[in-house]
C-alpha cells in the first residue's frame, strides 16, 4: 500500500525550526570561514563540481548543505545560473603559477619537480589524541598556507612558470594529433554532446568526483594491459585571471584561482574499427579541475585520452562506457544524477497506479491465454 506524503503547515515549520535549533547549537560567528579552514579540500571539490570558484561562498554552501557535496554544488550553481556573464578570460597551461608539479614519466623534467603542499607523502595514521593533525611527516603548515580559501599567491616571493612536461614528447613527434579545443560555456548550452572537445573538457572539469574516478578506473581495468596510462605531468597552482579594462583597453589582472591540471599518455596505439593501426604514437589526454582534488584532473585526463583514441572509430561503435563521450555526458554530471535518483523519493502513486493497471491486465490476459 502506498499513501500520499502530504504536507501540513505545522510539519514544515517544525522541520525548519528543528534545523535552525541544530544550526544555532553548532555556534555562531563567521561559519563560512571556519568551514573553509576546516575542510579546504571539501570546499575545493564543491567549487570544482559546481564550476564556480568563490571559496568563501562555496564554504557557506557546504555549511548550509550540512556537508552534502551534491546539495552544496546545487546551491552554488543555482546562485550563479542567473548572473550575467560579464567577460571572458583566456589562460593556458603555461600561465599557471606553479605550486606543485610532479612528472611520473620523467625523473628530471625541464624545470624540475616540486612536491608542494600535499598529503600524498604522509602516513595515513588517524590521530585520536586531539584536534591537531599528525605533524609527523605531514606538511600541515604548508597545507594551511596553500589552502584555497587563503589569499592568493601574491605572497610568493616570485611566481614560478614552467614548460609542459609533454613538450618533450611532442618535440620528438611521439604524440598523435588531437582535436583542437575551443573554450565553450556549457552553462549557456543545452548539452555538451556534439559540442566538441572543448565542451567535453568543461563537462569533465565539473563532473561528479566519484563517478569520474570510477569511470577512469574502469577504463584502466577493462582495456588491454597496454592501455595503462602513464602520467606525464600533474601540475597544481594558481591560474591568473586577466580581463580587458573597459576604459583603457589594457589587460588587468583581477585575481587568480587554484587549479590542478594533468596530462597523461596511453601507450596503446590508435586503431580504427577494422583493427587497422591509424596512428602508432601515444594518445595524449588532458584534464583540468578547479581546486586541489587531484584525482579529478587525472581521471578527466584518462577519459579524455580514451575518448580521443576511440574517435578513430566510426561513431556509435565504441563498446566501453569510458570510450563513449556521449555516454559519459549522460552519466557524469553529479547534479543530473543525484537529482534524478533523489526525485524517486517524491510521490509516484499516479504513475504507479498506471503500472499496476498494466501488470494486472497483462497477468489476466496471460492467464486467459494459458487457460
Amino acid at each position: 500500500m502506498y499513501t500520499t506524503v502530504r504536507e501540513s503547515q505545522g510539519a514544515i515549520n517544525a522541520s525548519a525550526d528543528l534545523l535552525e535549533q541544530q544550526r544555532v547549537a553548532l555556534g555562531e560567528g563567521d561559519r563560512g570561514a571556519a568551514v573553509g579552514a576546516l575542510v579546504p579540500l571539501l570546499v575545493d571539490q564543491v567549487m570544482a563540481e559546481a564550476g564556480v570558484v568563490e571559496p568563501r561562498v562555496a564554504a557557506k554552501a557546504v555549511d548550509q548543505a550540512r556537508g552534502d557535496v551534491s546539495r552544496a554544488v546545487s546551491l552554488l550553481r543555482s546562485w550563479v545560473s542567473c548572473l550575467p556573464r560579464q567577460d571572458t578570460s583566456s589562460a593556458g597551461w603555461r600561465d599557471i603559477e606553479v605550486e606543485r608539479r610532479i612528472t611520473p614519466a620523467f625523473s628530471e623534467p625541464d624545470g624540475g619537480q616540486y612536491l608542494g603542499a600535499s598529503l600524498d607523502y604522509a602516513p595515513r595514521l588517524l590521530n585520536l589524541d586531539g584536534a591537531e593533525a599528525p605533524r609527523n611527516g605531514t606538511p600541515r603548515d604548508e597545507a594551511a598556507r596553500d589552502e584555497p580559501t587563503g589569499a592568493q599567491p601574491e605572497h610568493h616571493a616570485e611566481t614560478l612558470t614552467l614548460p609542459r612536461g609533454a613538450a618533450r614528447l611532442e618535440q620528438q613527434d611521439l604524440i598523435a594529433a588531437t582535436e583542437p579545443t575551443e573554450p565553450v560555456d556549457l552553462t549557456r548550452r543545452a548539452s555538451a554532446a556534439g559540442a566538441g572537445r572543448g565542451a567535453f573538457q568543461q563537462f569533465l572539469s565539473r563532473a561528479e568526483t566519484g563517478a569520474l574516478t570510477a569511470l577512469a578506473y574502469t577504463a584502466v581495468r577493462e582495456g588491454p594491459k597496454q592501455a595503462d596510462p602513464t602520467l606525464v605531468e600533474l601540475r597544481a597552482g594558481q591560474l591568473p585571471v586577466t580581463l580587458t579594462h573597459p576604459r583603457t583597453g589594457n589587460p588587468v589582472r583581477v585575481g587568480t584561482f587554484p587549479v590542478t591540471t594533468c596530462e597523461l599518455v596511453l601507450y596503446h596505439v590508435q586503431v580504427d574499427s577494422s583493427g587497422e593501426h591509424t596512428d602508432s604514437r601515444f594518445t595524449l589526454g588532458y584534464g583540468a579541475t578547479a581546486g586541489r582534488v587531484e584525482r579529478r584532473a587525472i581521471s578527466a585526463a584518462m577519459l579524455d585520452a580514451r575518448v580521443t583514441r576511440a574517435s578513430a572509430n566510426s561513431p556509435g561503435t565504441t563498446t566501453l562506457p569510458s570510450d563513449d563521450d556521449e555516454w559519459l555526458i549522460t552519466a557524469l554530471d553529479g547534479q543530473e544524477a543525484t537529482g534524478f535518483v533523489e526525485h524517486l523519493k517524491l510521490a509516484h502513486h499516479v504513475s504507479f497506479a498506471s503500472d499496476l493497471d498494466r501488470v494486472r491486465m497483462v497477468g489476466e490476459r496471460t492467464e486467459e491465454g494459458e487457460g
Binding site: 500500500m1 502506498y2 499513501t3 500520499t4 506524503v5 502530504r6 504536507e7 501540513s8 503547515q9 514544515i12 515549520n13 525548519a16 534545523l19 561562498v57 546545487s74 550553481r77 543555482s78 546562485w79 550563479v80 545560473s81 542567473c82 548572473l83 550575467p84 552553462t187 549557456r188 548550452r189 543545452a190 548539452s191 554532446a193 556534439g194 561513431p315 556509435g316 556521449e326 555516454w327 549522460t330 547534479q335 543530473e336 543525484t338 537529482g339 534524478f340 535518483v341 533523489e342 526525485h343 517524491l346 510521490a347 509516484h348 502513486h349 499516479v350 504513475s351 497506479a353 498506471s354 503500472d355 493497471d357 498494466r358 491486465m361 497483462v362 490476459r365 496471460t366 486467459e368 491465454g369
Partner: protein, 304 residues
C-alpha cells in the same frame, strides 16, 4: 491542514523563501521578479516559441540551475517562471494534489518571487504547473498547462544515445516503438505501456506524454488549452498547441486502453475519475487523485 488558497499572503519562511529573501544579497542584482534574469527568460521563451511552432519537437535549451534539484521539476519551474505574468492565477499540483510536498514547494517559490494569486480551483487558474496529472475539471483557452517532465524522449527506452534518437525523430522513424507495441501484443495480448504513453502529434513527431496516466491522454486531443512540457535535467522543452491532434500510438485493430478501477471514489462517490489507493476512514480504498475536485464534490454533496 491549511488550504493553499490561504498561502497567498505573507507566509512562514521556508528554506527556499529564505533563500529568496535573505538579508544581504550576495550579488548586486539580488533575486529578480520571477527569479530568472532577462537573458534566461529570453532563452527559455525562444525555445518555447520554437516548440509551439513545431508541435511535439523536443527543443533543446540552455537549462538553468534552479533552486530545486534537477529532476524535481526544474524544467517545469523554468517554463513557468519564463512565461508567468503578474495577472496569472496559479495552481500547482503533484499527483493531482495541491497539498503534496513538491507542489507546495513549487507554489511557494513561484508565488513568493512573483506575488501572483494562487488557487486550487483549476477552473479559475490561468497557469497550472503539474506533475503527473491533468486537472479533471474542464479547462478552457485561458489555461496554460506546464508539465514537469522527467524523461522527454519516447525513444529513450529503445535508444539511449541522444544524437541517434534526434536523427530518428528527424526521419520520423518510430519503428522501434511500433515493434515494442507489436511484441507486447504478441506476447501479452495487450500493451505494456503504462504512463507516459507515446502519442503522435498532428501526424508529425511522436512525444512522450510524460508522465501522465493513459487516462489523461484523451484530454490532450484537440484541447482548447496550451500544453508546455519542461525537462530541466535533460535541457529540453516541447509543446502541444491548442486544437492539435494527439493520437496515442496503437494498431488499428487494437484499442487504446486507459486505466480502469472498477469502483467509485471512496470519498466523493464519483465514478470514472482517476483513483489512487489511500486510507479512507481507516481502510484501504480508492480515492480521486484530483483532490481539489474531489473535495469540492464532497462539499457539494453535503450542501445538497
Amino acid at each position: 491542514m491549511s488550504a493553499p488558497t490561504e498561502l497567498t499572503g505573507p507566509t512562514a519562511l521556508t528554506a527556499l523563501t529564505a533563500l529568496l529573501r535573505r538579508d544581504q544579497p550576495t550579488h548586486l542584482s539580488g533575486y529578480l521578479w520571477a527569479y530568472l534574469d532577462g537573458s534566461s527568460k529570453r532563452e527559455i521563451r525562444r525555445a518555447l516559441l520554437k516548440a509551439v511552432c513545431v508541435p511535439g519537437h523536443i527543443t533543446p535549451f540552455a537549462s538553468r540551475e534552479m533552486p530545486v534539484a534537477r529532476g524535481w521539476g526544474s524544467g517545469g519551474l523554468q517554463v513557468t517562471l519564463a512565461t508567468i505574468v503578474a495577472e496569472d492565477v496559479l495552481k500547482v499540483i503533484d499527483q493531482g494534489d495541491d497539498d503534496s510536498l513538491n507542489a507546495r514547494t513549487m507554489r511557494e517559490l513561484i508565488a513568493d518571487s512573483t506575488g501572483v494569486d494562487t488557487t486550487t480551483d483549476a477552473r479559475v487558474a490561468t497557469l497550472v504547473q503539474t506533475r503527473h496529472r491533468i486537472p479533471e475539471d474542464e479547462l478552457d483557452a485561458n489555461t496554460v498547462l506546464v508539465f514537469q517532465v522527467p524523461i522527454s524522449d519516447p525513444l529513450r527506452e529503445f535508444e539511449q544515445r541522444p544524437t541517434a534518437a534526434r536523427q530518428m525523430h528527424a526521419e520520423g522513424d518510430y519503428a522501434v516503438i511500433w515493434l515494442g507495441l507489436y511484441e507486447d501484443h504478441a506476447r501479452f495480448e495487450t500493451s505494456r505501456f503504462s504512463h507516459s504513453y507515446p502519442c503522435e502529434i498532428e501526424g508529425g513527431y511522436t512525444i512522450s506524454t510524460t508522465p501522465i496516466p493513459r487516462y489523461d491522454v484523451p484530454r490532450l486531443h484537440q484541447a482548447p488549452f496550451l500544453s508546455l512540457f519542461g525537462a530541466g535535467r535533460e535541457a529540453a522543452v516541447y509543446a502541444i498547441p491548442p486544437h492539435t491532434d494527439v493520437t496515442p500510438i496503437t494498431f488499428t485493430d487494437r484499442d487504446f486502453e486507459v486505466e480502469r478501477f472498477g469502483a467509485p471514489c471512496a470519498k466523493c462517490g464519483v465514478t470514472g475519475s482517476y483513483l489512487t489507493e489511500e486510507i479512507v476512514r481507516g481502510r484501504p480504498a480508492l480515492a480521486c487523485s484530483d483532490t481539489a475536485r474531489c473535495r469540492r464534490r464532497q462539499h457539494e454533496e453535503v450542501v445538497i
